[in-house]
């Protein structure tokens, strides 16, 4: 079975890879491209640990085939910090201890960044609904929600 050649953009870099037809984008990111920040949780689109953006749209990378990435622009958690400078959400998650084991954190950060790009001033309810597809089994969510709200407020003040 011949593998599929895919040309795409990952975190702003032109990228090529070969994948089997069955491979998900998550498989490709982790196993072909070595971008292991994106996590596999459920593999069925329920937990959000594998969240990435495709052409700016938040998706579960476990629910997309690698072959579908042809010509698309993929952004993962590895594209979030600018060099050594953490994104304000990353910094705030550390300051407010909005994580414990950390498995859900990359997906939540990618999802929260996507929210704040669309809505810089979300209500708590909007944050909770937006992140409803990101499951965390450690923190109970309150610290996560508060960190996103605080970051949004900081970023509004800074802009």
């Amino acid at each position: 079975m011949s593998r599929i050649h895919v040309t795409t953009t990952v975190n702003g870099d032109a990228t090529e890879f070969l994948c089997d037809a069955e491979a998900t984008l998550l498989d490709v990111l982790r196993d072909e491209l070595g971008l292991t920040g994106t996590k596999e949780g459920c593999g069925t689109g329920d937990c959000g640990a594998c969240s990435v953006t495709v052409d700016g749209r938040l998706v579960c990378s476990c629910l997309m085939l690698g072959a579908e990435a042809e010509g698309r622009e993929i952004t993962t958690i590895e594209g979030m910090a600018a060099g050594d400078t953490l994104h304000p959400l990353q910094q705030k998650f550390i300051e407010m201890a909005a994580l414990q084991c950390g498995i859900c954190t990359p997906g939540i950060l990618v999802a929260a960044k996507s929210l704040l790009e669309r809505n810089p001033d979300p209500s708590e309810e909007e944050v909770r609904y937006w992140l409803a597809g990101n499951l965390c089994r450690c923190t109970g969510y309150d610290k996560i929600i508060r960190a996103v709200m605080e970051t949004a407020a900081d970023m509004r003040r800074a802009s």
Partner: protein, 287 residues
């Protein structure tokens, strides 16, 4: 398994016609789950997203033609769709998480053929018609005629849905969809109810379409519910009659999400609430 991403409907039809065990991929939010669970083991996946028009929402005859690969998120961001068919947009918006909304489609929700699909009762109430393409050409089919049984559709081998058409909303018209779930998000409908209605100049119901989901093996169009409110102002008596008819029409089963009695009761409750929302929208009182 092979993967193809044809650029035209003709190429897609040819690819599907030449291959048993082929599956169509639009948003993939059901297909990839089935693939992983090995519920399906396709020889071929045909991704229709590269076909011209599949990702477009286009005005047509006063209504809207929605390409089969348009996502729920894209529908929710489309001002014209939100203004004309808010019930359909809200129904598709109830499916899954933000991430799922980024990919999930109306056509996929219909073809997955779950009795509890949220967008399907809303489409049935709206009188939506899908354009089916296949080896024998193109045909337009009412949404109500697509589901056959849980997980099964009436599409023939090699056919797929290219677009969903929502007709012109019409004057003094509005729609609504409500579902019951025991939590606030990320769940499957225990009961769903879609209503689209038009009012006459005096505020009486001129025409209505009432649908129920998750209370039978497939979505139901409840003609008796429409008849119960036809020609009437939606006062307490009319709403009570509507609720009674919907409860009687429901044919649910007992399962882990709800009992027969509960689902029958909720069918009526949701119908009366959805009717009130649709009426307010028809009067321009509510977006």
């Amino acid at each position: 398994m092979r993967f193809e991403a044809p650029r035209s409907v003709e190429e897609a039809v040819t690819a599907l016609a030449g291959q048993t065990g082929a599956h169509v991929l639009a948003g993939g939010t059901d297909l990839l789950v089935k693939l992983r669970a090995e519920m399906i083991e396709p020889e071929l996946i045909v991704d229709i997203k590269r076909i011209a028009g599949m990702r477009d929402v286009v005005a047509e005859d006063g209504g809207w033609r929605i390409g089969a690969a348009v996502s729920g998120a894209e529908m929710g961001e489309h001002a014209g769709l939100c203004a004309d068919w808010p019930g359909v947009v809200e129904a598709v918006g109830l499916i899954g998480s933000t991430q799922v909304q980024g990919r999930a489609t109306l056509a996929g929700n219909l073809c997955n053929a779950s009795p509890a699909a949220d967008s399907v009762p809303a489409m049935v109430a709206a009188g939506a018609v899908v354009r089916v393409v296949g080896p024998k050409g193109t045909r337009d089919v009412a949404v109500i005629d697509i589901p056959k049984a849980p997980g099964k559709t009436t599409l023939a081998a090699g056919e797929f849905i290219a677009s969903v058409f929502l007709p012109a909303r019409g004057a003094r018209s509005g729609d609504a969809y409500l579902r019951f779930i025991p939590r606030t998000e990320m769940d499957i409908a225990v009961v769903g109810c879609g209503i689209a209605l038009s009012l006459d100049a005096a505020g009486r119901v001129a025409a209505a379409r009432v649908s129920l989901g998750a209370v039978g093996p497939k979505v139901m169009l409840v003609d008796a519910a429409a008849e119960a409110i036809q020609g009437r102002v939606l006062d307490e008596a009319a709403l009570a009659d509507l609720a009674a008819v919907c409860s009687a029409a429901a044919t649910p089963i007992d399962d882990k999400r709800g009992t027969v009695d509960f689902r029958r009761h909720v069918s009526g409750v949701l119908a009366r609430r959805a009717a009130v929302i649709a009426e307010a929208r028809a009067k321009g009182e509510q977006a």
